[in-house]
Point group: C2
Chain length 290, copies 2
């Protein structure tokens, strides 16, 4: 699915989102981004996916699968469900297809589709799964409403999003907070919302869903959890912020010195006396409409 | 235990802390504060205390019990442990005594004591419990070190603190963030740290403890959880920020209009489409010294 963001793939339009490859220096970037997304999926799989398993024979639409960073985890946990993983970007889908094949999964069908013009009959899925997609959309509630129309009555939607306003750390650093704010500003400029996690509840209600249940998933990383410090603090969060250096400087959101100090300070939180906190939000809701 | 803060009990020196009654208009304030602390203890007891129970015959020092807001919960969950609840303020201890008696608890002894001059022999306790106390101290690591000396080798300390930097909400509001910042600034001015939750890990390490395990306890309140919205968003967090209006204005940290808008915006997050997030940190560590 086409997500609303700038043409330059490094504009910060993605947060924990899908990689895309459309412009000049993109291939190098795309490879790095794909690696980052794999690191991230590996670190976060348990936290985000452990309580999602779809029953035998059920049909599941994964809306906005991107390069398939979540698809493999999702499909591995629901081997007898039929999963349709859709995205607007053919380039991303090629990667997703490779990932699914490499994992030896036979329960995933890859489909090219626009989230607002889905090529499926109404009420054709038992479940919808959306991960790191709404953050990129200018009209997330409309997207959820469109996805709701794909659900059978009583079908569920599961949504996972981050929230960059949930990031705090020790040692605290104004520079680090300003660097993070660049990502938030760039994402807003591209029509998205990097602080969307906290508002999944009102968004799902607004989109007509019932029985909305939101469950925050906090990542807390201190030196007692070295894998998490490395996998999340360094390689997921800080790497993601670091990736917006160029567009942030081009948009004159920050000085190079301030940004670089901010990144150094984020890495500083990964040292032995450092602490890093971030929260993802996972929501489940039901299509009560007949 | 005497906690470092301003002489005026409404200076914001407390966050989730102990009430104190020493100056002019204090009794009225004290009663309101006691009520708020009871509301808060009731709402948070499960989240903060459910995994703390001390074995039969063990001796536990509750350092900085204040008016006993946590004492009753703590003691009720460890009926066969011997608990010594200490605070520097006689006025607070009188309230704590009443609370313990009203709850019919016979396993609590109330003691007047300064955290840095504890009137107990070294290594005389199996466990130490400290809740909403370190946030008020200028030297929290030294306090923890002093408490460590009270522990037998292999004894544990359990620490619970909030972190006001962990508060975020929908709708987001700069005014609300500024009002919260007043509380943080006043607490800093009084020598404390309202952002201490995130740094329990390094503090406990610095104080010489081993096997430090930190467990964040996030409060997530949306309209699906009306009791939490009322008990926490309105009556605990927003009430606490509202209570620093006078000292914040006196210290010229904020204009009255901005502060009042911030408070209104915090209450706004308790409405049907609002969301409020806050995280407490609970840590457990072991005295490995012989």
């Amino acid at each position: 699915m086409r997500v609303v963001r700038g043409e330059d793939p490094s504009t910060g339009g993605r947060a924990f989102g899908v990689a895309e490859m459309t412009t000049g220096y993109v291939h190098g970037y795309g490879a790095r981004e794909a690696l980052r997304l794999q690191d991230q999926a590996w670190t976060l799989a348990e936290l985000l996916h452990s309580d999602t398993a779809y029953p035998e024979g059920s049909t599941v639409l994964e809306a906005g699968c991107g390069i398939g960073a979540q698809t493999v985890t999702l499909a591995s946990r629901s081997l007898r469900a039929h999963i349709v993983s859709a995205d607007i970007s053919e380039a991303s889908l090629a990667e997703a297809r490779k990932a699914v094949e490499a994992a030896g999964l036979s329960n995933v069908r890859i489909a090219q589709a626009d989230i607002f013009k889905l090529p499926f009959p109404p009420q054709s899925f038992d479940h919808v799964f959306v991960c790191f997609v709404l953050e990129h959309l200018a009209r997330p509630a409309d997207a959820l409403d469109a996805l709701r129309s794909m659900l059978k009555p009583g079908g569920t939607v599961t949504v996972i999003e981050g929230d960059h306003g949930s990031a705090y750390f020790h040692p605290d650093s104004e520079h680090a907070r300003k660097a993070i704010q660049c990502q938030v500003a760039l994402q807003a400029k591209a029509g998205g919302d990097a602080l969307i996690g906290r508002r999944l509840y009102p968004l799902l209600r607004q989109a007509g869903f019932g029985e909305v249940q939101v469950s925050p998933r906090m990542v807390y990383a201190d030196a007692d959890k070295p894998q998490l410090v490395d996998g999340f603090t360094r390689k997921t969060f800080t790497a993601m912020i670091q990736a917006v250096r160029r567009p942030a400087l081009e948009a004159e959101l920050i000085t190079a010195a301030c940004f670089d100090k901010g990144i150094a300070d984020l890495y500083r939180t990964a040292e032995d006396d450092g602490v890093f906190c971030y929260t993802f939000f996972k929501a489940r809701a039901v299509n009560l409409a007949g």
